[in-house]
């Protein structure tokens, strides 16, 4: 494993829903499509210095969009919902939002 943790965790996924899930110690990220749960767990722990209980992932298929007759597709991506352990500190970055 020589991947940089910042290559795995691409950016936080900030929506109304994800903000609401902070209450349950669940934090949502856009991650590298090839990353697995273990890699994500290690990356989050390394970047934010928190303890991760579990990681749920899902592949999100990009929406089909068309401009006139030209049809295109938004890229597929992977979403990861990271649940922190009860005794872990919260992710500071999210708290500042």
């Amino acid at each position: 494993m020589s991947k940089d943790p910042h290559d795995i965790i691409i950016r936080p996924w900030i929506t109304e829903k994800s903000m609401a899930m902070k209450e349950q110690r669940k934090y949502t990220f856009v991650v590298h499509p090839d990353a697995n749960k273990t890699e994500i767990k290690n990356a989050v722990e390394a970047i934010f210095g928190v303890k991760v209980e579990k990681v749920n992932t899902m592949n999100v298929r990009g929406k089909k969009k068309r401009v006139g007759i030209h049809e295109g597709k938004r890229p597929d991506w992977k979403k990861a919902i990271v649940t922190l352990k009860k005794d872990s500190k919260p992710i500071e970055f999210f708290e500042s939002l």
């Binding site: 996924w13 900030i14 929506t15 109304e16 994800s18 903000m19 500042s96 939002l97």
Partner: protein
């Protein structure tokens, strides 16, 4: 929150307002709640975005303007109350410093009510016009009444001045029939000057059934520009001559036109009414005269905003009057060929006087501690209620706050005048013949 009145100069008060960070923060929160719905942030429904995110998206200043307005207007209200300032205009804020951590430092400038330096208002010498109602006045009034009740009787004789004739008219200019100049069975009172005088003149002497062509020269100053100064040929056919028959002045007449039984009673009533009118006229002219003197003697430095406001109010009034006559202000300006500035300028003096008068009256009330009590208002209201056939409580219920305020004002003004008159030296000037004096004092009414 710290607010100080720094100085008052030329009726402009300068206020220094300082708001601490904590208080400002509260205002920002308030403004956030008010405005969330306006911000659109991807991932959030409108109105659901957290404040911190909006601030990151749009910069922390987005709420400043609104929040500043909230705190400043609050501070402003406070300082106005504490220092019992009387602003006549909206305040003008200048923000010197603003920030989340430092709060706000701002200066506010507002025009306040000017102080009135009252001149002499006790022992003023004023003339009071007293109008005597004479026998002649009564006769004149009676004659008017007679005239109004005259009957028209057809007669077979040439038309005379004062007769009402029924005519068909058709006008021609240069051989062409004129537009709008053809009428049939038109009742025309000779001598009323409704039509061109020349034409009326020429109808006099015509017999019923007679048809005549008359050439009439329109006077040069005739309102119809197309016809002014021109010669117009009128085909006139006289159909009927009616004479005005005045009713006999007797008890019968009195019964017909009034609820009185005899002519004597009617005369007495006319006299009473005239006397009443004369009295109120002399009263209002006295008030006008006193007011003019008091206002003249007082010194006030009136801020232009107050005058401007009054001008606006006067113009609104004027526009309203115009609309009753089916015109709007724009049309009026076009017709009278006035530029908006000229038009405004016309009101300047009147507005100035109005403002000054009301300021002086206010100052007078203050100086002499003239106030209106609840009982006095009730008393006045009872009068109105009686006129409207309602009980006092019922009448009161239907009144709006501003109506009450208005009535109060009315009473106050009356009391001030009573006071002024009681203090003044009134010289009576007797004017014989009421009807001749009429109309003189009216424009002075406050």
């Amino acid at each position: 929150m710290k607010v100080n009145v720094e100085k008052i100069e030329n009726n402009v008060a300068t206020l220094k307002i300082e708001v601490e960070a904590g208080e400002f923060e509260k205002a920002i929160e308030q403004s956030y709640r008010k405005n969330v719905k306006r911000f659109n942030i991807p991932g959030f429904r409108r109105g659901k975005a957290p404040r911190s995110l909006i601030e990151r998206y749009y910069g922390p200043e987005v709420f400043y303007e609104d929040a500043a307005e909230i705190v400043l207007s609050e501070a402003y209200k406070k300082v106005v109350e504490e220092n019992s300032l009387e602003p006549v205009d909206h305040p003008h804020f200048d923000i010197d410093k603003i920030g989340k951590d430092i709060g706000i430092v701002a200066t506010a400038k507002v025009t306040v009510k000017p102080e009135v330096k009252l001149g002499q208002y006790k022992g003023l010498e004023v003339e009071k016009m007293v109008y005597n109602v004479t026998e002649e006045d009564v006769e004149k009034e009676l004659k008017d009444l007679q005239e109004k009740n005259a009957r028209l009787v057809s007669v077979e004789r040439p038309a005379q001045k004062g007769d009402v004739v029924v005519v068909d008219l058709e006008g021609f200019a240069n051989g062409e029939p004129l537009k709008d100049a053809k009428v049939q069975n038109y009742p025309l009172e000779l001598g009323s000057k409704i039509l061109v005088e020349d034409l009326e003149e020429k109808i006099i002497g015509m017999k019923p059934g007679e048809t005549k062509e008359v050439a009439v020269t329109y006077p040069a100053e005739h309102p119809n520009k197309d016809l002014a100064g021109k010669e117009v040929l009128f085909k006139v056919s006289l159909k009927e001559v009616k004479e005005k028959e005045l009713p006999q002045l007797d008890d019968e007449f009195a019964k017909d036109v009034s609820e009185f039984e005899t002519l004597e009673e009617l005369k007495q009533d006319i006299k009473n009414r005239l006397e009443e009118r004369a009295k109120s006229l002399s009263e209002s002219s006295l008030r006008g005269a006193i007011l003019k003197k008091v206002v003249e003697q007082a010194e006030v430095d009136i801020p232009q905003v107050m005058v401007d406001r009054e001008i606006e109010r006067l113009i609104m009034d004027f526009a309203f009057q115009l609309r009753l006559r089916g015109l709007d202000l724009k049309q009026y300006l076009e017709i009278s060929k006035l530029s908006p500035e000229e038009f405004k300028g016309r009101f300047q003096e009147r507005a100035y006087n109005n403002v000054k008068t009301s300021l002086v009256l206010e100052a007078l009330a203050k100086a002499e501690n003239i106030e209106v009590t609840e009982e006095e208002v009730d008393e006045e209201l009872a009068k109105y209620a009686e006129a409207a056939h309602k009980s006092l409580a019922e009448y009161k219920k239907n009144l709006k706050e501003e109506d009450l305020e208005h009535i109060k004002d009315h009473i106050l003004t009356r009391k001030i005048f009573d006071f002024l008159i009681s203090q003044a030296k009134v010289n009576e000037k007797v004017v014989e013949n009421f009807s001749q004096g009429e109309g003189e004092g009216e424009e002075e009414q406050a």
